[in-house]
């Protein structure tokens, strides 16, 4: 049992938990504790130190564009993204609710609205009061400063003008051709200019104290503002839910449509005259059609981050499979035939370093040429373009590794195959590929990692729904949450990249006969 678990952990690339299992089984506890400390304790400590440094440094680095978010702020942003997702799901669900379930939800929403409305209006009043208070405080601070500044500015300008006039007067009496006097005058002018410069600077410095007064922060007001905005946002969401539970609800719309249909049908039954009857018949059919349409319709849900993640993962796998489907056969051919290798080498060398940003527009045009009507297309062209870009950028490691793996099959194995007089295909599938598999999978693992990195850029550029689009949209929002949302993306991308890598490690190990140890 113990060895089975240990073996499973080993194959899954989770050797770090090895000592935990051994400890539970009571095998040499001191040794296991030491290992746990080393393989689990130290990484956790490193991570905590990292968080600590981050928490310490973040508030100390502010630019005008924004502050570096602390871990707490990032957590809030992640919560915000999640709340948005949950709320959109709730709306979609509300749209489809019917019967008692709908009424129950409706009652819940109404109760919550009744509860929130007074809270929101109280917060609003409070906010208004605080805003007036803070404004008058700023005015009080700024008023005298501004007066002082105005006086100072007037004085400075008057001084400058006076000096200038004095200089002009002096210049008037300068003897022509007297180099010495003129030099002295030059020095005076330069002195005047320096003085003007310092005065201007002093004025500027004074002004910045005024600006500082405007930049005063009022923490209480800010917290009330956040609270008020949270109430109002929820109210907005609830009013939308209310709509989807009443007029906007599918079942409500259908029953309204049906009652109209009954009227139209009875009108059709009693219609007289050819023209009127035809018209009534048409109306009945149209109403039936519209009911059928409503019955099929669904809430048009915006893309939320969790759904975008799923789509990104799907996209990277599609691209990865396209890439592998090209890279593995080509790699095998390159490994088998020196001629083929020589023929492909320049192409590989040429295309390998090309950036995804260059591939994308080219792919976009080519894909667009094949898909003329995106409405009816099997896949969305933007999705396909991103996937193909991923494929083009990620196939190289697999190709090179496959070629290498195939070329370096042990001579003994080949000789055995010769002795057994195996045909080409049996030689390929029984000897060459199995022994090349570990290297091929090592290549695939790198490819998937590259693909995942490339995908974000590709999605961002061709606005295919996915993590890349999320990044660009949130950046475009330019809200106070933007930076924190970017940090959330960093973690999500990192964790998914890690998982993808682990999956590939498991695959790689399962095809290696020797159980060759893989790097972390």
């Amino acid at each position: 049992m113990k060895f089975k678990i240990l073996k499973a952990l080993d194959v899954a690339g989770l050797q770090v938990f090895d000592p935990v299992v051994r400890l539970i089984c009571g095998e040499n506890p001191p040794e296991q504790f030491r290992k746990i400390l080393l393989f689990i304790g130290i990484p956790i400590i490193t991570f905590l130190i990292f968080i600590g440094i981050w928490t310490y440094l973040a508030p100390r680095h502010t630019t005008k564009a924004g502050e570096v978010p602390t871990p707490g702020v990032v957590k809030n942003a992640a919560d915000g993204i999640w709340v948005f997702h949950v709320r959109e799901n709730q709306k979609a669900e509300d749209f489809l609710l019917e019967g008692p379930a709908r009424e129950k939800a409706l009652a819940g929403v109404q109760a919550r609205i009744a509860e929130l409305t007074p809270l929101a209006s109280a917060a609003r009043t409070k906010l208004g009061e605080l805003e007036t208070a803070s404004k008058s405080q700023i005015d009080q601070q700024v008023g005298p400063l501004q007066e002082k500044y105005n006086a100072l500015r007037k004085q400075t300008r008057a001084d400058e003008k006076a000096r200038e006039e004095a200089l002009i007067a002096q210049a008037d009496s300068l003897p022509i051709g007297d180099a010495k006097a003129r030099d002295a005058f030059l020095a005076k002018v330069s002195e005047h200019e320096v003085k003007s410069g310092t005065e201007k600077q002093a004025l500027k410095d004074f002004k910045s104290t005024i600006d500082a007064a405007y930049a005063d922060k009022f923490p209480e007001m800010e917290s009330v503002r956040i609270q008020y905005n949270a109430y109002e946002e929820e109210l907005q969401y609830l009013s939308k839910r209310l709509d989807y539970l009443t007029e906007g609800n599918q079942s409500v719309k259908i029953s309204e449509g049906q009652s109209e249909l009954v009227d139209l049908q009875s009108a059709f039954l009693t219609a007289e005259g050819g023209k009127a009857t035809l018209k009534a018949a048409e109306k009945v059919l149209k109403q039936e059609e519209s009911i059928a349409r409503i019955a099929e319709s669904s809430y048009s849900r915006p893309w939320t981050f969790p759904r975008q993640i799923v789509r990104s993962v799907a996209c990277v796998f599609v691209g990865f499979f396209i890439g592998s489907a090209i890279a593995i056969p080509l790699g095998v051919l390159c490994g088998i035939s020196r001629v083929f290798m020589a023929a492909l080498t320049p192409l590989i060398a040429l295309f390998k370093p090309v950036s995804p940003i260059v591939w994308l527009p080219i792919v976009f045009i080519i894909v667009g040429g094949f898909i003329s009507d995106p409405e009816t297309a099997f896949v969305h062209p933007a999705f396909l373009s991103s996937a193909i870009t991923v494929a083009l950028c990620s196939l190289w490691p697999t190709l090179v590794n496959t070629a290498l793996g195939v070329a370096s099959v042990e001579k003994d194995h080949i000789n055995v195959a010769r002795v057994l007089r195996l045909g080409f295909f049996s030689r390929l599938f029984k000897i060459v590929l199995p022994s090349a598999l570990p290297l091929i999978f090592a290549g695939l693992r790198i490819s998937l990692g590259v693909g995942w990195m490339v995908l974000i850029a590709a999605e961002l550029l061709c606005s295919s729904e996915g993590i890349g689009k999320f990044v660009w949209d949130m950046f475009n929002n330019g809200s106070s949450q933007t930076f924190a949302q970017m940090f959330v993306v960093v973690f999500v991308v990192g964790v998914i990249g890690l998982l993808l890598d682990r999956i590939m490690i498991v695959l790689q190990r399962s095809v290696s006969f020797d159980g060759a140890p893989t790097a972390i």
Binding site: V142, N229, N476, N477
Partner: protein
Amino acid sequence: MKRIIVNTAAALALSLSPAYADLDLEKDELKFGFIKLTDCAPLVIAKEKGFFEDEGIQAEVIAQPNWKTLLDNVINGNLDGAHMLSGQPIAATIGIGTQANVITAFTMDLNGNGITVSNSIWEEMQYNDPALDTPTPKHPISADSLKPIVKEKLDAGEKLQMGMVFPVSTHNYELRYWLAASGINPGMYTESDTGGRTDAEVELSVTPPPMMPTVLEAGNIQGYCVGEPWNQQAVVKGIGVPVTTNYDIWKNNPEKVFGVTQEWSDANPNTHVAVVKALIRAGKWLDEKDASGNFVNREEAVRILSQPNYVGADYDVIKSSMTGSFTFQKSDVRSMPEFNVFFDDYATFPWYSDGIWFLTQMRRWGQINEAKSPTWYLETVMKVYKPDIYLHAAKLLLEEGLIEKSEVPWDSDGFKPATDEFIDGVVYDAHDPIGYLNSHKIGNKDPAGLTAN
């Protein structure tokens, strides 16, 4: 010329057959694109307040990464229609950039842009013109006090750098207009210079709106012209100072339009009318006022727009320009009820005269690189602006009692009266595009009396 239009307008009004009364949609699941700017509001509101649903349309409203991609997506059919810069359908139709027949039957809003300069430029401007050095300087602020700075830079062998959002955007033309009104040459486009920097005293470059504050802070540009919320963002973050809005440059100028391709409109005529109906209602909802003239729905609109899948900026930032005021400096919050106009003053009607203004600017700065005749201006704009579709939609709304008769210019010939409400006071009469071109000091001038081409 005028008579021709009057006749066509009358003919169009008559051709509104009752068959349209009950719109038979060709397509009911539509995708619309928008750029994250507050003036996408009519599209978002029409969806969120259920105006599209009332027309039987299931609409998806999708953010686009930039104006170029947005236009490409409309042309290749990924999107059914989109929130576009006023210049985009015109430029696409005459083949500046991507060539395609893009038309518009609905103007989304008036005004809504601002010109922001960096703090240090603002300080120098204040130094050059002491009248600006007060907490609430007098408006409009022209580029006169900027001129010495430009000269100084030129003497030092540098050029002031400013940002705008797209070569055929309203921002480009407004910024050029503002600079040229004070005698600063913003540069000309020529056949070989598609960057528009020939003879420039101030160099303009394209920067995506969300990047503007960042690039300004980094010092790559010293000022920019952009829509909201990116001017207010600069104030909130203390990066720059908005000096003027396009309301002062040209009072009630058309800003964004709702654009679709000609092919789409031909294939889905009823759907197009239904969409315009929903958008008109959204515009009206946005501009609804109470008895004392305060907007009643704007706060709700701002709440909706601040959702992350729409504009997504902070509620308070969007609110500062959309609820009837504009923050120039922290000390200078002004009431500007007309900063964004979504419906009043016949705002949503697709005026031929608005389109012609953009054509004159494209010619003035050399994007159209040969002289054109007045008839060409008119014919081109009639290819792009489709008041007949607007009037269809309006008529149906009137029948349903959703708008007032006085809210639509029913008998207009498509031309607004000549106006001199520009920052430099030059009179613009859309009937005489050549005369208008020639009345400016800086920019291309064309011989009058051209009849060919």
